[in-house]
C-alpha cells in the first residue's frame, strides 16, 4: 500500500527546506531509517530517513526545490500494509485547499461534521477534535488523512500558514532554477487502464475534463490505483499551470558578454543575506575600536594550553575572550539585550549565551555556548571546539544555534585588525576580534612591541550609547590585559 511521506519539521520552527539531493530513485527498495534525501533548511543540512521498509513509488519534487514543511515529498509502496487514504495532498496546492475550505464551511450546518465512523474513532484515538478539522474529502468530508494530519500537530498548521503568506516565493523558487523545458512540478499523465475512485470523484473528473486514468494515484486500494477528488483537482490545475509555464521556460535567457556562472541564492546563503539585511537596515550600527595589550594573556594561555591538552581540550584565546566579555556584560547588562520595538521594551537578558560566528564552506553559522557565566574556561573551550566542528560538518542542530544573547566574531583568525561587524539581530551588540599579533605599543614614553588584540564592538545605537560601548570595551580590555582578574569571576 502507498504510504506518503511529508517533509518533516527537521528543526524547531523550520518552515521549508531545500531538497539538496535525492539519495534514492523511484523504484528503489528502501529500508527503515535509510536516508532518502538530503534537505537543507535555514542553517543545517539533514538527511531525511525513510520511515518504512518498502519501495520508492514516487518522488514528488526534484532536487533543488524548496518545499514547505508538511508537503508530501515521496510516496513509498509498503507491502502488506492497510490502505491509508491520501494524506492531504491538498497542502501542496494552497489554492485547492482554500477552495475546499470555503466549500466545507458552507456545507456545515449546525456544526455537524461529516466523517465516517472509522475516522471518528481514529480522531478519538489521536485526541483530535473532529469539529476543528478541515475536511478535504468530497464536499468537505473529513478523511482519515485529515485527522492524521491534524494529529501531527498544530506546528505543521502554523508552518502552512507561513508558507501561505509567501506563496510567490515558494512557487518561484520551484520554477526559476529549472532550465529544463516545462513541467517540473506538474504531473505526467499516468495512463492507467483501471482506476478506483468514488463516484463523485469520477463526476468531478468529467466536469474538469480530466481522464481519471491519467491522474497520478498516490494511493492504492486492494492493489489498484486509487484516485481522490483532490488529486483530480490538482491534476487539472497542474495541467493548466504547465501549459502556461512552457513558453516562459522556453525563452532563452540573456547573459552578459563574457559569460557568467550563477549559484543559487537559497538555503543558508539566502538566510544569511536576509538576516544581515534585516540587522543592518533595522539597527543603526556604531562600531567602537580599541586594542588590548595581552602579553599576560598570551603567557597564561601558553601555560594552561599544556594542561588543557592533557585533558584533550584545545585551548584557544576564544574562551578567555568570552569569559572577559561575560564578566563585562554583568557590569554593562545593556549590551546583553534585545530591543522589542513593537512591545516598546528593551529586554535585558539574564542568561549569558555567547554566539560564535563560524565560517563554514556553506557560509556563516553562529553556534551558541549557553550559560558561559556558569562554565569553566576549560568547559567553554571544549564546547566551542565541539560546536565549531559541528557547524563545519553541518551536523549542528538548530537548537544549538538558538538562544544567543551576545555574539563574538573572530575574523582575526584569517587576518586583519579592525572590522565593522554586523549585529546578530535581534541582539544589540557584537564583538569582533582582530588577529592577535605583535604591534607597537607606547607606554611611559616608550614604544615597545607588545602582543595585542584589536577589538571592534558594534552596537545598536537605538539601545546602547557610544559611552556605554566605550566603557564596556574598556572593561573587556582590562580583563584581557590582566587575565588574573578573571579568577575573581
Amino acid at each position: 500500500m502507498a504510504r506518503e511521506f511529508k517533509l518533516p519539521d527537521v528543526g524547531e520552527g523550520v518552515a521549508e527546506g531545500e531538497i539538496v539531493s535525492w539519495l534514492v530513485s523511484e523504484g528503489d527498495a528502501v529500508t527503515e531509517d535509510q536516508p532518502v534525501a538530503e534537505v537543507e533548511t535555514d542553517k543545517a543540512v539533514v538527511e531525511v530517513p525513510s520511515p518504512v521498509n518498502g519501495t520508492v513509488q514516487k518522488i514528488h519534487f526534484e532536487a533543488g526545490t524548496v518545499v514547505p514543511v508538511g508537503d508530501v515529498i515521496v510516496t513509498f509502496d509498503v507491502e502488506g500494509e492497510a490502505a491509508e487514504p491520501a494524506d492531504a495532498e491538498a497542502e501542496t496546492e494552497p489554492e485547492a485547499e482554500a477552495e475546499s475550505e470555503s466549500k466545507s464551511a458552507t456545507s456545515r450546518a449546525e456544526s455537524r461534521t461529516f466523517a465516517p465512523p472509522s475516522v471518528r474513532r481514529l480522531a478519538r484515538e489521536l485526541g483530535v477534535d473532529l469539529d476543528a478539522v478541515e475536511g478535504t474529502g468530497p464536499s468537505g468530508r473529513v478523511t482519515e488523512g485529515d485527522v492524521r494530519a491534524a494529529a501531527e500537530g498544530e506546528e505543521p498548521a502554523a508552518a502552512e500558514a507561513e508558507t501561505a503568506t509567501e506563496p510567490a516565493e515558494t512557487t518561484q523558487t520551484t520554477a526559476a532554477p529549472s532550465t529544463q523545458p516545462a513541467a517540473t512540478g506538474s504531473q505526467e499523465a499516468a495512463g492507467r487502464d483501471r482506476t478506483l475512485a468514488a463516484p463523485a470523484t469520477r463526476g468531478l473528473a468529467r466536469e474538469l475534463g480530466v481522464d481519471i486514468d491519467d491522474v497520478p494515484a498516490v494511493e492504492q486500494r486492494d492493489g489498484e490505483a486509487f484516485v481522490t477528488a483532490e488529486a483530480v483537482q490538482q491534476y487539472a490545475e497542474g495541467g493548466q499551470a504547465a501549459q502556461a509555464e512552457a513558453p516562459a521556460a522556453g525563452a532563452p535567457r540573456q547573459y552578459a558578454e563574457g559569460g557568467e556562472t550563477t549559484e543559487p541564492y537559497r538555503g543558508i546563503r539566502r538566510t544569511i543575506g536576509k538576516q544581515m539585511a534585516e540587522s543592518k537596515y533595522t539597527a543603526p550600527h556604531v562600531t567602537h575600536h580599541d586594542t588590548a595589550p595581552i602579553d599576560a594573556l598570551v603567557e597564561t594561555r601558553a601555560r594552561l594550553k599544556e594542561r588543557a591538552t592533557e585533558k584533550d581540550v584545545k585551548l584557544t584565546y576564544m574562551p578567555f575572550v568570552m569569559k572577559a566579555i561575560v564578566a563585562a556584560l554583568k557590569e554593562f547588562p545593556i549590551l546583553n539585550s534585545e530591543l522589542r520595538e513593537e512591545e516598546e521594551e528593551i529586554a535585558i537578558k539574564q542568561d549569558y549565551n555567547v554566539g560564535i560566528a563560524v565560517a563554514t564552506d556553506a557560509g556563516l553559522m553562529v553556534p551558541v555556548v549557553k550559560h558561559v557565566d556558569q562554565k569553566s574556561i576549560l568547559q567553554v573551550a571544549s564546547e566551542v571546539n565541539e560546536l565549531a566542528q559541528k557547524a563545519r560538518d553541518r551536523s549542528i542542530s538548530r537548537e544549538e544555534m538558538q538562544g544567543g544573547t551576545f555574539t563574538v566574531t573572530n575574523f582575526g583568525a584569517i587576518g586583519g585588525e579592525y572590522a565593522t561587524p554586523i549585529i546578530n539581530y535581534p541582539e544589540t551588540a557584537i564583538m569582533g576580534l582582530g588577529a592577535i599579533d605583535e604591534r607597537p605599543v607606547a607606554e611611559d614614553g616608550e614604544v615597545r612591541a607588545a602582543m595585542t588584540l584589536p577589538l571592534s564592538l558594534s552596537i545598536d545605537h537605538r539601545v546602547i550609547d557610544g559611552a556605554e560601548a566605550a566603557a564596556f570595551t574598556n572593561q573587556v580590555m582590562e580583563y584581557l590585559t590582566d587575565p588574573e582578574l578573571l579568577l575573581l569571576e
Binding site: S107, P117, A200
Partner: protein, 474 residues
C-alpha cells in the same frame, strides 16, 4: 452480607442478558476482561424471547398464509389451513435456537453466566438473588458494572395483565389458540404489528387509541399506507378513546373506553391487548446503593461513553436515554465494554435506523426534511414510488415509496424514510450512507442490481439530484 452468600469477584458485571447486555458481555470477554453476566429470566432478553424475534416469526408466518390466500391476482387460488399451535411451536424453535446461540457465544467468549436477579449492595458489589425454591443468593464484587435491565410493558390502570383476559405483547405472542375477537389498546408500532398478525389470522381486531392517529411520531405519508392496509385487513380504528375499564361478560369481556369529554364506548370482545408503550426497569436494582437515581423518564442518565454519574457504572439499552431499540442497545453495549477496556470508543453515531414491521413496513433513519430544515440545512428531497419499481410490482406490493433527504449544498445524505416492501432491509444502505458522509451522487452513481427494490434508493437519490430516470423530476 447475608449468611450463606457466596462471594465472587469480577472485572465487569453485566446485569441483564438482552441485546445490550449480552453484546456488552461478549465484547468485554473478547477484550480480555473477566466478565460476569447476570440474567434473571432468559438469555436474549425481551428482544429474542418476547419481542422482536417472536413477533417477526409470527408476522412472517401469518404473511405466508395471508399472501397465499390472497394471490388470485397472480392466478393462485388457495385457502391455506393454519394450525396456530404448530405456528407458535415453530416460532418457539426459532427463539430457542437463537437464545441457545447467545448462551454458547457468551460461554465461548469466557463470560461467566449467573442466573438470578441482581441488585446493588454498595458501589462495588451486586447481590444476586437466585429464583426458585432455594432462594439462595450470592454477592459479586465488580470493578465495573453495566446495567442492562431493559424495559417492560406499561400497565394501564385498571388493566392489570392477567394473561387470560388482559394481555401484554409478550403474552399475546405466546397464545397458541387465537380468540375470535380482540381489542388492542394502543396504535403504536407494537400494537400495529400485533394487530396485523391477529387480523391475518382472522381475528376481529379493534384498535383503541387515545390520540387521533396511528403510529404517532412517523410522518403522515408513512403511516397512511399502513392504516389504510390495516383497514383493508378488517381492523377497526377507534381514535380519541382511552381505555378506561373492563369487565367479564358471558364468555368474553367488555372493554370500556372514554373520550376527552368522558363519553364512554363499550367494546365486546374476547381479550384485550394493552400495548401503550414500555418503561425502563430500574426498580429491582436498588440504585440508591450506588447513589444513582432515575430521571423523570425513569431512565438512568449516561454520557457519550454510556457512563452514568457513577464512574464505574454504565447503563445501556432501554434503561438509558434514547429510543428503545435492540440495535441501539447493542451499540451501547459494545461501546461500554470498549470504554471499560480502555479503548477510545464513544457513542458518536449520526443516526439510529428504526423499522416498523407492519404491512407495509416503515423504516426511517436520520433526519426528515422538516428536521433537516430546523437544523439549518437546506434540504434536497428525492422520492421514488414503489409503483414505478419493477421488482415491487413483481412481488405484488407496489405501494409506498423511498424518500431521501440530503443537504442541497453539499449533497450529503441526512436522512431517509421508506414505507413499502422490505423497508426494514432497504434502510440499511441509507444508514451506511449517512454514517460515511456519502453524497446523493455517491449513491446515485453506484450501480444497483436490477431488478431489485434497492433500485428505489438509487432512483430517489437521482430524483433529489434532479435526474431520475424512472420518475418525473422535481
Amino acid at each position: 452480607m447475608v449468611v450463606g452468600d457466596v462471594s465472587t469477584g469480577t472485572e465487569v458485571a453485566v446485569v441483564g442478558a438482552g441485546p445490550g447486555g449480552y453484546v456488552a458481555a461478549i465484547r468485554a470477554g473478547q477484550l480480555g476482561l473477566d466478565v460476569t453476566l447476570v440474567e434473571k429470566d432468559a438469555y436474549g432478553g425481551t428482544c429474542l424471547n418476547y419481542g422482536c424475534i417472536p413477533s417477526k416469526a409470527m408476522i412472517t408466518a401469518t404473511d405466508v398464509a395471508h399472501s397465499a390466500g390472497n394471490a388470485e391476482e397472480m392466478g393462485v387460488y388457495a385457502d391455506p389451513e393454519v394450525d396456530v399451535g404448530e405456528m407458535v411451536a415453530w416460532k418457539d424453535e426459532v427463539v430457542e435456537q437463537l437464545t441457545g446461540g447467545v448462551e454458547q457465544l457468551c460461554k465461548a467468549n469466557g463470560v461467566n453466566l449467573i442466573e438470578g436477579r441482581a441488585e446493588f449492595a454498595g458501589n462495588d458489589k451486586l447481590r444476586v438473588v437466585h429464583g426458585g425454591d432455594g432462594q439462595g443468593s450470592e454477592t459479586i464484587t465488580y470493578e465495573h458494572c453495566i446495567v442492562a435491565t431493559g424495559s417492560k410493558p406499561i400497565e394501564v390502570p385498571g388493566f392489570e395483565f392477567d394473561g387470560e383476559h388482559v394481555l401484554n405483547s409478550r403474552q399475546a405472542l405466546a397464545m397458541d389458540d387465537y380468540p375470535e375477537s380482540m381489542v388492542v389498546v394502543g396504535a403504536g408500532y407494537i400494537g400495529m404489528e400485533i394487530s396485523t398478525v391477529l387480523a391475518k389470522l382472522g381475528v376481529d381486531v379493534t384498535v383503541v387509541e387515545m390520540l387521533d392517529e396511528a403510529l404517532v411520531g412517523y410522518e403522515d405519508d408513512l403511516a397512511r399506507p399502513v392504516t389504510q392496509h390495516a383497514e383493508e385487513l378488517g381492523i377497526d380504528f377507534e381514535f380519541g378513546l382511552a381505555a378506561d375499564s373492563w369487565a367479564e361478560s358471558g364468555d368474553g369481556i367488555v372493554v370500556t373506553a372514554a373520550d376527552e369529554d368522558g363519553e364512554t364506548t363499550d367494546f365486546e370482545t374476547d381479550k384485550v391487548l394493552v400495548a401503550v408503550g414500555r418503561q425502563p426497569v430500574t426498580d429491582t436494582l436498588n440504585l440508591d446503593a450506588v447513589g444513582l437515581e432515575p430521571n423523570e423518564d425513569g431512565r438512568i442518565e449516561t454520557d457519550d461513553q454510556a457512563r452514568t454519574d457513577v464512574e464505574n457504572v454504565f447503563a445501556i439499552g432501554d434503561v438509558a436515554p434514547g429510543p428503545m431499540l435492540a440495535h441501539k442497545a447493542s451499540k451501547e453495549g459494545e461501546v461500554a465494554a470498549e470504554v471499560i477496556a480502555g479503548e477510545p470508543a464513544a457513542l458518536d453515531y449520526q443516526a439510529v435506523p428504526a423499522a416498523v414491521f407492519t404491512d407495509p413496513e416503515i423504516a426511517t433513519v436520520g433526519l426528515t426534511a422538516d428536521a433537516a430544515e430546523a437544523q439549518g440545512f437546506e434540504p434536497a428531497v428525492g422520492k421514488f414510488p414503489f409503483s414505478a419499481s419493477g421488482r415491487a410490482l413483481t412481488t405484488g406490493e407496489g405501494e409506498g415509496f423511498v424518500r431521501v433527504v440530503a443537504d442541497e449544498d453539499s449533497g450529503f445524505i441526512l436522512g431517509a424514510q421508506i414505507v413499502g416492501p422490505e423497508a426494514s432491509e432497504l434502510i440499511a444502505e441509507l444508514a451506511l450512507a449517512i454514517e460515511l458522509g456519502a453524497t446523493l451522487e455517491d449513491v446515485a452513481a453506484t450501480i444497483h442490481t436490477h431488478p431489485t427494490l434497492a433500485e428505489a434508493v438509487k432512483e430517489a437519490s437521482e430524483h433529489a439530484l434532479g435526474h431520475a430516470i424512472h420518475t418525473l423530476n422535481r
